[in-house]
Amino acid sequence: MSAVLSADDLTIRFGGLTAVDSVSFEVREREVYTIVGPNGAGKTTIFNLISRIYDPTEGRIRFGGADITETPAHRIAGLGIARTFQNIELFEHATVLHNLLVGRHCKSRTNVFEELAFLPKVRRAEYAHREKVEEVIDFLDLQPYREQYIANLPYGVRKVVELARALCTEPKLLLLDEPASGLSVEETENVAFWIDDIKNDLGIAILMVEHDMSLVTEVSDRVMAMNDGKTIAEGTSDEVQNHPDVLRAYLGA
């Protein structure tokens, strides 16, 4: 299986702090790759490096054969990398539908003058976007919330809306930053089903950061453990969980 995303010797320093220290990994097609590690290990920083919010100090990121180390952040979604955030970053004073349509932004090809006049071309594009959004709404069972404002939704639903918004960009790779944090046991199970469906039905590769080890074990094909910005173990979930360095990082033993 070929690699969708590969990171080579990824390093970022904030002043004297090395948040990520020559980390290399690759995410293959139709694979769920999970990064685990204690707080401050540099997991989310890796996500921010891939979505180009930070510039790496050293190392390269390759996506589908192309080097994206220098690509501006707003092009990343168009290339096929979508992400969710650890602390939900939805557009709160807008409806669910509006949020999902923003997810289609990277696919919009109309310019602002055509939009001011709302030419038939813009209307047709709107239909196409809406069609795709409805597919995602069906996929994640969001029908009851379509017209609701985000500010009115419970936390669990917001998490799903964020996932939906990411799927609306029609990604090849999905970055999930703690998809189960703050969710109940039932909701976490739902997340596990959806991750399986996204992988198997939609054929999207997933790179995930997660603390809930039962979820990690259930859905992950491969797991990487990090501590202090360095990779300490890589392999299946069981291998990583029983790795002596991982036990030391978590338990300080």
Partner: protein, 360 residues
């Protein structure tokens, strides 16, 4: 309570989403169109002025209410639009209806160019940067005598079309203004239902996730500023005909602040708010003048009564109704729509979920 059954995507795209909209906005339209029948020339003239302010307010609303970028310099663009209109009519033999879009586009281009450096700043710094625009423009208008007439000001040629001369204080010019307002409303509403408008709202609510969804933040902000200033310039061009004589101190900082007051009082984040706000800002001084006669002289003849009441109004709105008049209207409507299950929390600003990791 109304149940709307949706059978097509067009139902969510069109302006008037169900018959209720047709009824209420139709009624409003008829009221506006028949206004000259039951209002005198003075009131109609005031309404025309309110409309030109409303157009400027719509421009500012796109920027502040929908893109979340504050501007204290929109009086400058209002002024550029007004002077451009006067200059175009004085220099070329064109109709005022042709000159208006040219003045608007010209203002928009200036706004677009200024936005490139300005919108690198955010928050309070952006406010100061745009504040400087107001001050600089006033000086330019005073000094550039060959074009603006300097301190002496500049007369605006009367608006005329096919030999018919409009009277800016009468019903005929009121209809011109109303038509332009409806056109601008349609343009704004079009923008807001298409990708660029959604990108603007996305930038307002969360820059980092807008960027991750493929929104080019800088381009969206600059586009919003360009369109916003163009619309404000159009409002200025209309206002020039209303004033008939332009003077540099007509476009100072006070006007900029009045515009901001307008959209805050009207309701940030809604096109309706800009219009309601303009009505308040234009009609309130008249109401105060009338009220003066009924107040005891010790209060009624107090200097600074008008700015005092304006200030009080702004503070009261920020404290008690941050969503403005239109926000209050929506709450009342929702209360009756879903009676008796209305919850106050529906409109509460949520701060429950801590946002850390805010990346610029």
């Amino acid at each position: 309570m109304r149940f709307v059954f949706k059978t097509g995507y067009d139902q969510d795209i069109r302006f008037f989403k169900h018959t209720g909209y047709w009824q209420s906005y139709g009624f409003l339209f008829l009221t506006a169109v028949t206004a000259p029948l039951y209002l005198g020339n003075f009131e109609i003239s005031e309404l025309t002025q309110a409309i030109s302010f409303a157009i400027a307010g719509l421009g500012l609303m796109l920027l502040v209410g929908f893109t979340g970028q504050v501007s204290l310099g929109h009086a400058a663009f209002f002024g550029i639009g007004a002077y451009a209109q006067a200059w175009l009519l004085a220099s070329f033999d064109i109709s005022f209806l042709v000159a208006m879009p040219i003045a608007a586009v010209f203002t928009g281009i200036i706004g677009f160019l200024l936005a490139i450096p300005l919108l690198r700043m955010t928050g309070i710094y952006l406010a100061i940067g745009t504040l400087a625009l107001s001050i600089v423009l006033e000086q330019i208008l005073k000094s550039w005598k060959s074009v603006t007439g300097g301190f002496d000001g500049m007369a605006v040629e009367p608006a005329s079309l096919l030999g018919y001369q409009f009277n800016p204080d009468s019903w005929d010019f009121y209809y011109v203004a109303l038509a332009i307002l409806i056109l601008v409303l349609a343009l704004c509403a079009n923008l807001l239902r298409s990708p660029t408008g959604r990108a603007m709202v996305a930038v307002r609510d969360s820059e980092v996730s807008a960027r991750s969804m493929g929104v080019n933040i800088a381009r969206t902000k600059i586009t919003a500023f360009g369109i916003s200033t163009a619309i404000t310039g159009l409002g200025g061009a209309l206002f020039a005909h209303k004033l008939q004589y332009l003077a540099p101190d007509g476009f100072n900082l006070i006007i900029s602040i009045t515009f901001l007051l307008m959209i805050v009082v009207g309701g940030l984040g809604s096109l309706q708010g800009a219009i309601l706000g303009a009505l308040v800002v234009i009609l309130l001084p008249q109401a105060i003048t009338i009220m003066k006669d009924y107040l005891p002289p010790s209060i009624g003849h107090q200097p600074g009564l008008e700015p005092g009441i304006f200030g009080l109004l702004l503070v009261a709105f920020i404290l008690f109704e941050p969503m403005g008049i239109y926000g209050r209207w929506r709450k009342i409507k929702l209360f009756f729509d879903i009676f008796p299950v209305y919850r106050k929390a529906t409109f509460r600003r949520q701060k429950a979920y801590l946002k850390t990791e805010r990346m610029r």
